[in-house]
């Protein structure tokens, strides 16, 4: 259960820093194209893992519901971290 949230958080982190403007916030410079691609794929993969973890612990119907909630919560956390870094 907690795995689902953590993987969603990881996925959101990867997807966020693969965007140039957020990479600038986190690392003060944009990442190279290759690293961005890798991060994007990793983020997508982690999202799949998170959805799979949801389906594993709750069954498909409830699992996907849980997955949506995890992604929402994780994205909020990432956005708050980014806006906190920005200050």
């Amino acid at each position: 259960m907690i795995i689902g949230l953590l993987t969603a958080l990881g996925a959101m982190m990867c997807l966020a820093v693969s965007q140039n403007k957020h990479a600038r916030t986190m690392f003060a410079r944009p990442l190279p194209q290759l690293v961005r691609r890798v991060l994007q794929s990793l983020g997508g993969l982690l999202l799949l893992v998170s959805a799979w973890a949801g389906a594993q612990s709750y069954g498909v119907g409830i699992g996907l519901t849980a997955f949506c909630a995890w992604v929402c919560l994780a994205a909020w956390m990432v956005a708050l971290i980014l806006s906190w870094r920005q200050r």
Partner: protein
Amino acid sequence: MDDDDQVKGQEETFHGGFRQSMAWLHTWAGLVLSLLLYFVFITGSFGYFNTEITHWMQPEMPHLQAELNVAEQSQAALDHLQRVAPDASRYLVRFPSERANGAIRVFANLKTPDAKGARNLNQLIDPDTGSPIEARSTGGGNALYRMHYALHYIPYQAAVYTVGVATLFMLLAIFTGIVTHKKILADFFTLRVGKGQRSWLDAHNMSSVLALPFMLMITYSGLVFYTFQYSPGVAVLSLGAEQETFRTLNRYLYPRIENPQATGDAAQMVPVAGPLETAQALWPDARLRFLQINHPGDAAATLSIGRWPEGIARRGEILYFDAVSGELHERMPAQPPSSVFASATMSLHEGHFADYYLRWLYFLSGLLGAAMIATGSLLWAKKRRNQYRGRPPRSIRFVERANLGTIVGLPLGCAAYFWANRLLPVGLDERAAWELHCLFVVWALSFMHAGARELRCAWREQVGLLAGLFMALPLLNALTTDVHLGVTLGQGDWVRAGFDLSALVFGVALLFVRRRLPAPEPRSQPIIAMDSLPSPKIGG
């Protein structure tokens, strides 16, 4: 919604681009009933914890941890019912859910009203002793939950249709919001703090985009609950407008086994242990939900046993027995595919399947919905305020005040509801109704206060009061009851302790919000409220 799209001339709305006209529609479809929708979201979010709130609001209720021995306990409950309500047309025994306290609810439809004129009997009994538990009368969490679709003080049908129209507008606002938002993916994680209007827009976008699946689901499924009331057109035009048509339609979509009429001949009923054994053999791991006897003591008596639903299903299976012979009747008929879909949608809305982890996520998503509406409404006022130098028109000032009176006023009312539960005399007549009166009186006072005070002052004062009321709730609980944190934590009564602790956390969080609110303007300067409301941290 994008703020650049709004500022162009009104009259161009219908001759401008797609995005511009959709932004217009988003603004107005959203704004018109936004305050009602905020009410629906806040009370509905509380509804996810209805059982827990009720448990907190009835401090007399013991913290029961009895093991369920269904056969023994249901026979004891039925014996109790036969003793206190011998002349009844229906007995219902409801077993506690995993969330609820261990008490068993017994219910009887009386054939003749009792001394107080009541047509039914509704008690909670202690499964260990079999005797009824007396607890204070309260609306509990269910009163809050019920208000999110049935409102209060107005007739049920009128309320349901009002909420329905608001829900339809919200669905329209969501769709137009999606097509208007220029950079959903690019702005996915963007929350710029301390940038005035821009920050409010970010907060509005974040609360809606990130929770978009939830928003779409909760809004659409809200309409599905009253499918044929809200959209009778298709059925009327293809099947006719008679009441009977709708009844037949509903029976087809949600088939159930009809109970036979009473014969009037007395008969001896079998003990429930036999049917319960059959049920447990058919559902080895199931948790039972209820046991019901129709026409007890009659030759046509039926016994039905229901289980909690599995997975995302909304209704658990029910077994029907002949209560005289103990024979199992036919099983429940299957639903057609369209109603399986509708049931699943409604089940997602209610979230009965959710464990505490998911339940909190539901609750937070609900609050996010409220935040989306609140930020949208604040954004509307702020954007228009920025377009006027000097004194803005009355409509804008009204929306600003109404925003405060609702966004903070309604939670103030809810806090007052909890306070009233502890402070009103236990023996008061119509006590449950008075608790709700307190909610609405405090809400109305908040409106008046918002209208009377300088706006920034009013914001600070109301948020401060709200923080204080929530933080003091555990203290009030300790002063007025013996189920305060010191006791509940020791007992492992996590439901009551959780309520107190959550109130404390909310209070502290609100205190932080209050610290970030701007200081009131000195008297001599013109009042430019809203302009420097704090940039949001968590959506509102």
